[in-house]
């Protein structure tokens, strides 16, 4: 089996057909992902350059992703971020995307793309 190719944020956004609330550097390489709705868990396990799939929509997710040095947050399940969440993501330069797909499916697609 061939080793997975590096996946950029831009490629993931296109392949997963994500809605863009706040864009992120499309050339940034995704260094893995977290799927969780517990903020402390993501704070402890999240790593620089990862993306985070969650159904939480409040502004605190931007603080967590920013402190962990992540590239972007993907809000799954058709949930929409609160206006304050979008404002804070813009302020901190954090990518913020949405999808109607479940977190499970999004995680599977990210893995299939080559995100490890």
């Amino acid at each position: 089996m061939e080793p997975p190719q590096p996946v950029t944020v831009g490629r993931a956004v296109e392949a997963l057909d994500l809605g863009t609330c706040v864009s992120a550097d499309p050339e940034a390489l995704i260094a893995g992902a977290q799927v969780s709705d517990l903020l402390s868990y993501v704070m402890a396990e999240g790593q620089r350059g990862q993306v985070w799939v969650t159904i939480q929509t409040h502004p605190n997710i931007v603080a967590v992703a920013g402190l962990a040095g992540m590239h972007a947050i993907i809000i799954a399940g058709g949930f929409e971020p609160e206006p304050e969440t979008i404002a804070r993501a813009e302020e901190e330069g954090m990518g913020l995307f949405t999808s109607a797909q479940t977190a499970y499916l999004l995680a599977g697609k990210l893995y299939e793309l080559g995100v490890r």
Partner: protein, 159 residues
């Protein structure tokens, strides 16, 4: 231990303001970066500060976070006016939480706060009594080069 304090900053924390939570920690991360603290230390400090800040937000009326940067370490103090912790050993138990259902629904209150802080910090001292708030003191060693100077220049500013 090097006693030269290079910078001191304080950031307020508002109790109950869930959605503002993380602002103080984000500010701390910013000043550490500006002071040239190494990335690994910043990462550990950011995790601990976030958890400590959210403890104040979730449980106290108000508080503040103070950061002191020394050539060989960073110290953080998180002081709050709140109900205090009745049983610190219990609060240190992973999974134990006194957070409200509302907070839990938002993804807080996993009972990982104090255990996460203890894991990240090189030293941790917690002083509290029921009804008397919480005073949390943390020390993080930073990477120092052979000549004793930090890897990159310190700004030396005092906030």
């Amino acid at each position: 231990m090097d006693t030269r304090r290079l910078a001191h900053h304080e950031f307020p924390i508002l109790g109950r303001a869930y959605f503002l939570g993380g602002r103080a920690s984000t500010s701390v991360k910013q000043v550490l970066r500006e002071a040239g603290v190494d990335d690994a230390a910043i990462r550990r400090i950011a995790v601990a500060c976030y958890e400590a800040e959210m403890n104040v937000v979730l449980h106290a009326r108000s508080g503040y976070m103070a950061v002191d940067i020394y050539p060989d370490r960073v110290t953080i103090a998180v002081i709050d006016k709140g109900p205090g912790i009745e049983n610190v050993d219990l609060a240190m138990t992973p999974g134990w939480s006194s957070a409200t259902d509302e907070a839990r629904a938002l993804g807080f209150g996993a009972g990982m706060g104090l255990p996460n802080i203890r894991e990240q910090a090189d030293a941790m001292d917690i002083r509290t009594a029921k009804g008397d708030g919480v005073q949390l003191f943390l020390t993080f060693k930073r990477e120092v080069t052979d000549d004793g100077a930090p890897p990159t220049g310190d700004s030396g500013t005092r906030g």
